[in-house]
């Protein structure tokens, strides 16, 4: 069935709002047909992840938009790019990659996007409100916006997130619609490893549901009350790496899941899954391919970008012996400003911390050549770093990461 276009949609297609909007809308119409949407809706914001350089195709696309005179029609934030424009000296890749990466980031700003360059836009002043219709890219941000805030977005990928931004329109399908937001899988956390902190638990649960829930929206019961937003961020990031999770409900914690019945929309779940303490330990173990005691080249924290609350957790852990290896902490420009304002830049530097803004260690060339092994507290970084960077990886808690940085090898606490 064809997509129904409003008179405004037709004006967009016909070029009445410029060539860039017309190109974007034509792609959106074909996209809407492909996902079987019947109409378009207005969006109030967009988050674009197309500013990470994957090769000529992303640059060619954005420059085509600029040539056509395009500008975004709604407030639009940007995901991480390939280079840290604040600390360009950190980039160790080829000159061509650095130039094209920076060019792609600036091209998006030229289209009217805000230079946030963060994968955690939900922890900035651009955080959407509950119920807002938005078009977001970046899998962890999508999971957070839908699950923790209750805003509504599908998993928009590169190109289409920008097309939505250029038109202010998104196809009415999937998670934009209330009926598609109810849980279809029930995940019961039967027991929790006693020695774990809440972040470890969140990562393991996220990794396990990503692998085991398929495309079904999970409702999770049995998690301790008082999981922080950063814990839920870690859960969503892990789940959206090992699976296509764009929305999860934590019963009693997230806004569309005050209780199980509401989370499931009164329906019986198609899948019931029980996770034991051993299942969770196994999920955490599967994120490491390095054994205890294996030598490490670096530690990377902040995938997704470290929040100011996470810096508050980190600072006391750094008191004491200077680490033997570098610790990279990825954060947004806005968080970096806050860290500087609090006077933490120098103590962090003294503790061998390299602050990375605008990008992230696991998508950029920031580490010294020859670093073949890293440790991280992020399920997402642990999942992708071996493929992206060709490194061995150990996943561990934040305290384990710092203890390991001091020892220069994988330490388990």
């Amino acid at each position: 069935m064809a997509v129904e276009l409003s008179s405004f949609d037709r004006e967009l297609v016909d070029g009445k709002h410029g060539g860039g909007a017309a190109f974007a809308m034509r792609l959106l119409v074909r996209f809407a047909e492909a996902v079987d949407a019947r109409a378009f809706i207005d969006i109030e914001a967009a988050h674009v992840d197309g500013c990470l350089y994957h090769g000529r195709a992303s640059l060619d696309f954005t420059e085509r938009m600029i040539e056509l005179g395009g500008k975004v029609r709604v407030p639009t934030t940007l995901n991480v790019g390939s280079v840290d424009l604040i600390h360009p000296e950190l980039f160790r890749g080829t000159k061509e990659h650095a130039e094209n990466g920076a060019r792609l980031m600036r091209a998006h700003v030229e289209l009217g996007c805000a230079p946030t360059f963060t994968c955690a836009p939900y922890q900035t002043m651009w955080r959407p409100r509950f119920g807002a219709q938005i078009a977001w890219g970046e899998s962890n941000a999508i999971a957070f916006a839908n699950s923790v805030i209750g805003a509504r977005t599908n998993r928009y990928g590169d190109f289409i997130d920008l097309c939505c931004a250029m038109t202010g329109r998104a196809p009415a399908y999937g998670l934009h619609l209330s009926e598609n937001r109810v849980a279809r899988a029930l995940v019961e956390i039967a027991a929790i490893p006693e020695d774990w902190d809440s972040e470890q638990l969140a990562v393991a649960v996220g990794h396990a549901i990503g692998r085991r829930c398929g495309g079904l929206i999970p409702a999770i019961v049995g998690l301790p009350a008082g999981l922080s937003e950063d814990d839920l961020k870690a859960l969503g990031a892990a789940a959206a790496s090992s699976g296509a999770v764009a929305l999860f409900h934590v019963v009693g914690r997230t806004p569309e899941a005050p209780d199980l019945e509401t989370a499931c929309g009164g329906l019986t779940p198609e899948l019931r899954l029980q996770l034991t303490a051993e299942d969770l330990r196994e999920a955490a173990r599967s994120l490491s391919n390095l054994d205890e005691g294996a030598p490490l080249g670096a530690v990377s924290l902040g995938t997704p970008h470290f929040s100011i609350d996470q810096f508050v957790r980190l600072m006391p852990l750094l008191d004491g012996e200077r680490p033997l290896i570098d610790i990279f902490v990825n954060c947004s420009r806005a968080t970096l400003d806050e860290v500087r304002m609090r006077g933490w830049e120098k103590p962090l530097h003294n503790a061998r911390v390299t602050l990375v803004a605008d990008t992230c260690v696991y998508v950029s060339a920031l580490m010294k050549p020859g670093v073949g092994t890293i440790m991280t507290n992020s399920g997402k970084c642990a999942y992708y770093a071996p493929g992206n960077l060709g490194v061995g990886v150990a996943y561990g808690s934040l305290p384990e990461c710092i203890a390991s940085a001091r020892a220069g090898k994988v330490v388990r606490l």
């Binding site: 992303s58 970046e138 899998s139 289409i160 495309g215 090992s242």
Partner: protein
């Protein structure tokens, strides 16, 4: 060699044929596919190391990062992408990557939605020919 015909739903137009590569699990192109070589690099994927170049890629569904579209478009630009993609679930990220390669470079990588009941037979074929047009898609399998 005998041929069999199957119906499918067009997601992205085009025609292609090639040997079959059936993936046993969903794949995220971003972080999972090397766009320069077409090799699967997701170490947790059962077919890590396989090459998608020129194949009729049977990908049950998408997964993971929303950056997969650019990786697919770039792989297609470099001639390292699949000839066509068959899916069991609609996946916007895959569709967009193929559409953008068509818009920017005029390179066709048709994408179609197959019937779950045909998946085994399609996967058992040596090669497939896909013709995905506005009125639907037809797959012909050399068994």
């Amino acid at each position: 060699m005998s041929a069999r015909a199957f119906d499918a739903v067009t997601l992205v137009h085009g025609a292609a044929s090639g040997p079959v590569l059936r993936l046993d699990e969903p794949l995220s192109f971003w972080g999972g596919l090397d766009s320069a070589t077409g090799t699967i690099i997701d170490r947790l994927h059962p077919q890590c190391g396989a090459c998608v170049t020129g194949s009729i890629l049977m990908l049950p569904s998408g997964r993971g990062s929303s950056s997969g579209s650019a990786t697919l478009a770039e792989a297609l630009r470099l001639g390292a992408g699949p000839a066509a993609i068959l899916m069991l679930e609609r996946d916007a990220i895959v569709v967009v990557g193929a559409m953008v390669a068509a818009e920017l470079y005029g390179l066709a990588c048709p994408v179609a939605l197959a019937d779950a009941r045909d998946w085994e037979s399609l996967g058992a074929a040596a090669s497939l020919t896909l013709e995905a047009g506005p009125d639907g898609a037809a797959i012909s399998a050399d068994l």
